[in-house]
Subunit: 221 residues, 2 copies
DNA sequence: ACCACTAAAATGTGATCACAAATTAGTGGT
DNA sequence: ACCACTAATTTGTGATCACATTTTAGTGGT
């Protein structure tokens, strides 16, 4: 098993917290396959701790719907269904538009420039077809914007939704690549620059619906 | 300690699940005071099990923000701040409008009648100033509507948001009563009856903002 | 009375153990 | 080869224990 987990650079207060973020990160990076079962003892061995902290971390991730419990109580990466995808899409539009609207008044030239740089990393990753880089940069682009309004509660809801689509997203990218992905960030950046709330909402909605819609079109295994 | 917890009528698959719902229910019914610490061993004794299931249930509720961890790792009922309240308000408007919109096409006469009956329970509870009854009926009214569209993911996000305001709501009701509460359900029912999406959204937004706004006006201790 | 300091009790975290249920491996029969 | 059946292993859950940290109670001094 090579480079499944990142070693934690930050210091965590508890083992459980460390495990939580390590597993969470692994999910976001597509290291788990949907449908594959995850074992407490297995993870504990890999992460060098007792089953105890793993249990709590998995319980936490399960309640965020990043993982799910099978009918036999086993923890696994959820498989996506068209219904779930539609719902996540709708929820993301609702919440991310709200977060962006909240952030908009706080965008100054410095922040806008930071966003432009992040967008360049996204497009550059797209050109090089670097999936890993694309996912990371795209995530940072969106969350850098949303974080401006300091929306703690809404942000954690949005994070939960991203966690839920991450495994599928990686699956699709690995099968079809990232070349077909549209880049709506330009529209978004322009809208932000002109402080046009309605345009920002439209751009975010398009970004989300085109991004996840293209997946919806493919078979969902 | 009298009638703090409901005895579980349904059968749960695990003790942890039973404890989770019991504590969750107690929070919704305002049995915990904001700021008061909750101890694992204390709950375990009250709920007649070992600390183990309690730990996992509390971890779960913490990740839903129904409870929070203090800097010394103790679990307590979160205290509300104006910032959090504003955020929850915005998130609820965004998500509940979405849920209602999704439910709207599925409302038939039977469902509408059920909603009317629930609304009567709400107004009746308001007249009798029965806080317990009002909270329960109001919750059922909203969630009966939202559940129609079968929005699993969005619904659990909304539930999380309601959980977060429950303790404060009870606190305010006990201090000021429920007489001043406006009843926007009539507008909502009318809008639903005429299948007017825009009116439904407006009614929900007003219901939420007036309900939580009146709290915001009071001091938040 | 009030406050700093200390000692005792209680608390959260993590490890280990026991056990029932589920999964996997193995076996024999057709 | 294929499938039903059984045995061995693995798994999740819950209980108990150990320990460092925090909280509370108690004490003495001003």
């Amino acid at each position: 098993m090579v480079q499944e987990f990142n070693s934690p650079q930050e210091e965590y207060r508890t083992t459980q917290e460390r495990v939580y973020f390590q597993v969470r990160d692994a999910i976001l990076r597509g290291k788990f396959l949907p449908g594959r079962a995850i074992t407490i003892r297995g993870l504990a061995a890999e992460l060098d701790c007792s089953p105890m902290p793993v249990r709590e971390a998995l319980r936490r991730l399960t309640s965020e719907r990043a993982l799910e419990l099978s009918d036999t109580r086993r923890v696994k990466v959820p498989t996506m269904t068209p219904e779930k995808l539609t719902e996540i899409c709708a929820a993301r539009v609702a919440l991310e538009c709200q977060a962006a609207e909240q952030a908009l008044p706080l965008v100054n030239e410095v922040e806008l420039e930071k966003l432009r740089q992040l967008d360049e990393r996204v497009t550059s990753a797209l050109e090089q077809k670097d999936i890993e880089q694309y996912v990371t940069a795209n995530l940072e682009f969106h969350f850098t914007l949303y974080r401006l309004g300091q929306p703690h509660i809404i942000l954690s809801l949005i994070e939960s939704l991203w966690l839920q689509t991450a495994p599928l997203q990686h699956l699709v990218f690995q099968r079809f690549g990232v070349q077909e992905l549209p880049d709506r960030h330009q529209d978004l950046l322009a809208a932000i620059g002109s402080k046009d709330v309605e345009q920002v909402r439209k751009a975010i909605q398009q970004d989300i619906e085109e991004g996840l819609g293209s997946i919806s079109a493919e078979e969902l295994l």
